[in-house]
């Protein structure tokens, strides 16, 4: 066939008409506007409320302690979070009083042998959190250990001098030889957020694509439109138009989230500072959050954001095409269900595998899953905050491009036949037949 520039322009003109229709009808919808404005508020809440609560947890737990051994001394010291009260009443009385008193638990230290400590108990009206349990156990163990050391004849001063307090700093070595301070906590959070957002975006906009195709097919407008454009042009117009809707939402979210988090941090910071100086022992969560936020600077946010954009578009095109093909084979959302699971399985597997990737972001599972185009958008976004070699990134992106070109090609072949088929019960065999049908 001869290539004519004018014809090319005509086709592009028609495709852009389709893109704009798809885009405008969706962007004008109330649901889009609501989601766009509520999203950042929710995101802000998810990101900052835990910090806020962690920083503002008051000493609202109280325990009673009965020490029948007389060995332990005042090892439980009240602080802002937990208060301890030593009582000398009988255990049975204390137990029966426990429910009436406004107390969270009763720590019971029986008479015990140093070489065989047994019979310790925590009574409570409700289950205690693991962190509370381990903190109490820890205190008891430490004290019993030091008692044993004393009993073995060591000097108390010597024992105290053994105490060490270590805070692990993680430092990444880059090939250029520089050292980069990082926090795996921050990397984890950013990776999780980016991966989940890719997952959500691909699912939401892929499904939007599918429903759009089903709508055109079931309302029977498609044959009217197909008297003006080719099926592939119609499909591409829809896929691209919806991608633009997603991009618009993403950009608005970034802008709004930025704005809102700026507001929140301005509003929160004086209080947070005050809290930080008031109690030297912050809760562990708050501690982690604070170091994570301070280590954000160590992660290349420009890389994360631009990779996010790329993997969002690539992942969406890859799956959006398949969703469009599913739509063309279905006359209702219910029809589409049978094809949904196999198509979305790689997405779901990616999300499930995130914890594996976290354990070893540079292991072979992580590597291969970030190269295979069906899983790479989600897995790579998890890996990037931990640092990925440029060649891996480029390879993954290149294969993703090949991947979506491939799925667009397959989808186009199924779509051109399926979109005009009515009243046939479609299964995988029929899809394969449509795919094989020659032009």
């Amino acid at each position: 066939m001869k290539f004519s520039f004018q014809k090319y322009l005509q086709v592009m003109n028609k495709v852009s008409l389709i893109i704009f229709r798809e885009y405008l009808t969706r962007v004008k919808k109330k649901s889009f506007i609501i989601a766009t404005f509520l999203g950042p508020i929710l995101m802000g809440a998810v990101m900052f409320l835990p910090t806020y609560f962690a920083l503002n947890t008051q000493g609202n737990k109280s325990f009673q302690v009965i020490d029948e051994s007389g060995l332990m001394g005042a090892i439980f010291v009240s602080d802002n979070e937990v208060s301890y009260e030593y009582i000398s009443t009988n255990l049975d009385v204390a137990k029966s009083d426990l429910l009436e008193n406004d107390v969270d638990g009763l720590i019971y230290i029986p008479k015990f042998e140093l070489n065989e400590p047994k019979g310790f108990a925590l009574y409570g009206a409700s289950n205690q959190s693991i962190s509370t349990l381990s903190s109490i156990e820890n205190t008891l163990e430490l004290h019993i250990e030091s008692l044993r050391l004393l009993a073995s004849g060591l000097d108390k001063e010597v024992i105290d001098s053994f105490e060490a307090n270590i805070d692990l700093n993680t430092i990444n070595l880059s090939n250029s030889g520089g050292e980069q301070e990082s926090s795996s906590g921050a990397a984890t959070i950013i990776g999780y957020i980016a991966s989940f957002m890719i997952y959500m975006f691909v699912f939401i906009y892929g499904a939007m694509c599918m429903r759009g195709v089903i709508e055109e097919k079931s309302s029977r407008i498609v044959e009217i439109v197909l008297s003006s454009v080719k099926p592939f042009e119609l499909m591409m117009g829809k896929v691209i138009g919806i991608a633009m809707v997603g991009l618009t939402q993403f950009v608005l979210w970034i802008l709004l989230t930025g704005g809102i988090s700026l507001l929140i941090s301005v509003f929160m910071s004086p209080e947070a500072l005050e809290m930080g100086t008031a109690n030297s022992e912050m809760s562990s969560e708050a501690d982690m959050m604070a170091t994570a936020l301070s280590a954000l600077g160590g992660i290349n946010m420009t890389l994360v954001l631009s990779a996010f954009l790329f993997y969002f578009i690539g992942g969406y095109l890859l799956y959006g095409a398949l969703f469009a093909a599913i739509g063309s084979a279905s006359e209702s959302d219910a029809d589409a269900q049978q094809f949904m699971l196999p198509v979305t399985a790689p997405l779901i597997i990616s999300i499930i595998s995130l914890s594996l990737v976290l354990q070893d972001p540079h292991g072979s599972v992580s590597f291969w899953m970030s190269i295979i185009p069906f899983t790479s958008p989600i897995i790579m976004m998890m890996r990037i905050p931990f640092g990925v070699a440029p060649w891996e990134l480029i390879l993954s992106m290149f294969i993703l491009i090949l991947g979506f070109l491939f799925t667009l090609w397959i989808a186009g072949r199924i779509y051109r036949v399926g979109i005009l088929m009515h009243g046939t019960k479609v299964n995988w065999k029929i899809l394969a037949k449509w795919f094989m049908t020659s032009d």
């Binding site: 014809k7 005509q10 709508e215 309302s219 439109v225 008297s227 003006s228």
Partner: protein, 337 residues
């Protein structure tokens, strides 16, 4: 319209004849021949799985006329139309438009109203028509101008800003019709254009179709309702069970299928003769009776009159011309189980 081809013919003819009248005559007939076949369908076959949808159908569709594609449901009309519009691919045969094999780009210029038609439900009428016209290549301003005229013509002026959901089925059909014709195509293909219309609106659309023909468009439409065809079509083809069983101009077909049947109103007693059969007889007012007669020498009605007036008083004599419906049924019924 003079083409180079025509000039060549002119040149060779003026050498040959030296008589201008004859040349003009010849040119007129060649021109007619040239124009006659806008679409040529050449031995088209199509099967879906095991089902033969069309077998070896050949047709020619003359320019600037209305062509009716008739047949019962499932005969293959829509398949044929979808092959002409290149929505599906034939297994065998070719379709020519203006002597050129039809291409995708040619198809995009025609106006096509599919049998399975719908609109974007949530879109407004005006916006939707603008979108569809722009897809057909109209500029936005031109589209707005033409759509306004059409909406006024079809009584839909006040519906510009209403969504399609709010339209009745008939109104939606009118909007679809506008979408098909708004770019003023030279060739219109309408698949069951009257289905879903009440008689008033069907008439409205019928008149629009005639007007478009008079303005020079060629219109192909399919229908399973034969009665809508008679006054509308210049030419028809009958399709039944994937095969073409009949085609030609409505006049010719009717002429061909006359069976020498006459309706007579008379007084007296009909003679019994071997030259005709009385198919039915009814009593009208007074002594007046009406009979339906089949005369065996169909081409000579005068003979029949001569034989009749020997014994009866003849008040009215008319030939019973078969309707397309009757022709269709007579053609189709033997093959019906």
């Amino acid at each position: 319209m003079i083409t180079i081809e025509l000039l060549d013919v002119l040149h060779s003819l003026s050498l040959k004849f030296n008589n201008s009248m004859e040349v003009i005559k010849y040119i007129e007939t060649t021109k007619k021949k040239k124009i006659l076949d806008l679409i040529k369908i050449d031995h088209i076959s199509k099967a879906y799985g095991g089902h033969q949808a069309l077998s070896d159908v050949s047709l020619t569709i003359p320019d600037k006329s209305i062509f009716g594609l008739l047949g019962p449901n499932g005969a293959g009309k829509t398949t044929l139309i979808r092959i002409i519009t290149k929505i599906i691919q034939q297994d065998q045969g070719k379709v020519f438009l203006n002597k050129e094999e039809i291409t995708y780009d040619l198809v995009r210029k025609i106006g096509y109203l599919p049998e399975e038609r719908g609109l974007y439900k949530k879109m407004k009428v005006g916006e939707q028509l603008i979108y569809l016209s722009q897809l057909k290549g109209l500029s936005r301003t031109e589209a707005v101008k033409r759509i306004k005229i059409w909406l006024e013509k079809l009584d839909l002026k006040s519906w510009w800003n209403k969504t399609v959901e709010d339209l009745s089925k008939g109104m939606a059909q009118k909007v679809q019709f506008i979408a098909t014709v708004v770019h003023e195509p030279k060739l219109l293909i309408l698949d069951e254009p009257f289905s879903g219309f009440d008689p008033v609106n069907a008439d409205l659309i019928k008149n629009e179709i005639l007007e478009l023909r008079d303005k020079g468009a060629t219109i192909i439409f399919s229908t399973h309702r034969m009665e809508s065809v008679e006054e509308l079509c210049d030419n028809i083809a009958l399709i039944n069970q994937s095969k073409k069983i009949l085609d030609g101009s409505v006049k010719q077909i009717k002429e061909k299928h006359k069976q020498g049947q006459y309706i007579i109103d008379y007084k007296g007693t009909l003679p019994t003769k071997e030259s005709f059969d009385v198919l039915s007889q009814t009593d009208l007012e007074g002594d007046l009776k009406r009979a339906h007669i089949k005369f065996h020498q169909a081409s000579k009605p005068n003979d029949l009159i001569a034989q009749l007036i020997e014994s009866i008083q003849l008040f009215s004599f008319s030939e019973k011309i078969p309707t397309i419906n009757e022709i269709f049924i007579s053609k189709v019924s033997p093959s019906h189980e």
